[in-house]
């Protein structure tokens, strides 16, 4: 239930961002779309309670919905977000994402991983892509944008997590950003 709520909220965010970013004044800002899918996948992977299957499933579902919104080949973002979720799950035991600076740094890292993973998947499957320099520029812009909006999105996700907490301790831990 928690994962489904997070996925639906993230999907709503993606739709809003998709609609808002088209109205941005500068073409540079229009290209710098924050990767909310990667942030969500990373959050799901980082806060997975028991196994990783639920988190990966949620990430894949969100990725599939993002594919449908963006017009990308179905499965492209699904696979990318699944892999991003696994990476986040892998670092779960090693880092503690707390505080604005750490959250921003981790958001940037996640966006970079998702960008590179997406590029590799597209290369592997022969999906049409732009020139390499343009792809790198796009990944950099997306990373910067994701770094900026990361703390805000994670705060919303922690609120949702707190709403699903069974005890006061779990609720406080969720709001503090402690892994369950």
């Amino acid at each position: 239930m928690r994962t489904a709520t997070l996925v639906l909220v993230a999907y709503l965010f993606c739709v809003i961002v998709g609609a808002v970013w088209r109205l941005m004044p500068s073409s540079v800002i229009r290209d710098a779309v924050p990767d909310l899918g990667a942030l969500t996948a990373a959050y799901l992977g980082l806060t997975a309670r028991r196994g990783s299957a639920g988190a990966v499933g949620g990430s894949v579902a969100l990725g599939y919905l993002v594919d449908l919104i963006s017009g990308a080949p179905a499965g492209l973002n699904a696979m990318t977000l699944g892999l991003t979720c696994l990476v986040a799950r892998g670092v779960q035991q090693r880092i503690l994402v707390r505080g604005a600076t750490m959250t921003m740094g981790f958001s940037g890292f996640v966006a970079l991983i998702a960008g590179v993973a997406g590029l590799l998947v597209r290369v592997f499957y022969g999906v049409p892509r732009a020139a390499f320099s343009f792809e790198l520029k796009y990944i950099a812009l997306v990373t910067v944008a994701t770094t900026i909006v990361g703390p805000l999105v994670w705060r919303v996700f922690r609120r949702i997590d707190a709403a699903f907490a069974r005890t006061h301790r779990e609720r406080d831990a969720a709001l503090e950003g402690l892994a369950p």
């Binding site: 609609a19 894949v60 449908l68 499965g75």
Partner: protein, 297 residues
Amino acid sequence: MRRKLIDWALTGILIFVPALVLRSSMHRGEPSGFDKAVLRITAPLEAGVSWLVEGIGGMWSRYVALVDVEDENRELREENEKLRKDLAAATRRATDIAALEELAVVKKQTQADTLGARVIAAPLSPQFRVIRLRIDRGDREVQPDMPVIAGTGPVGKIDKVYGDYADVMLVSDPRSRIDVAIKRTGARGVLIGLGQPDSYACKVTTLELASKPELRAQVGDEVITSGVGSVFPPGLVIGTISKLAGDDGMFQNVEVRPAVDVSRVRAVMVLLAPPPPPDPDAKQRKKSEPAFGARAL
């Protein structure tokens, strides 16, 4: 341990499924039935969000973000006014140039001494018709009765000269008399201005009434100067016949609409001297005298 294995297996499957979906969608090249079904469900949400966001964005750009519009409007208004003035000046210059070009053509075709003059005033009748023209040539350059022409034909004659200026009596003035001919038939008459306050019409009197109907003047016939009287050179188009005003058994009366629109004339040409008379021997072949000392063969 078993639980962990199941979790990893499920994770592997969940990663593998998108890979298969991606491969299949790359081969297919279009959304599957499942994709279309999901899109049908999610489309209203996307449409609603887009409508809301674009509505708010439109409201912002139309009603809120208008901080600099007033200044921009003022600048544009000033620029518009300046451009209008420039355009009016350019149009005036173009008209002057066109008039001067026409005069240059007339000057080239006219075998007489001419003097260009600029129209500096044009008094109007109560019905806004030009009564006479005032030009910027005075008593040192022009004299009364000198003919004045514009690009398209005769305008009138010098009436009075005041110091540095001169008034031109128009062909439509009732005091004006010009010997004319009908170009098609060659019949001659005298063009007299009607002096109407609301038109530039003239009439031709003493126009011989031919016995053959086809040789009589008709509406649309061109009226040209005859050259008789040595005032205007022959062949200048004065206007066209606009109305047949009957006859008295001997002469035909017609009304003429002048070719020159005097309300638009900005430059004219004064004919200072009549053209030289035509050489009667021009078409005869003459045997030239032998040169001094040459031997006749």
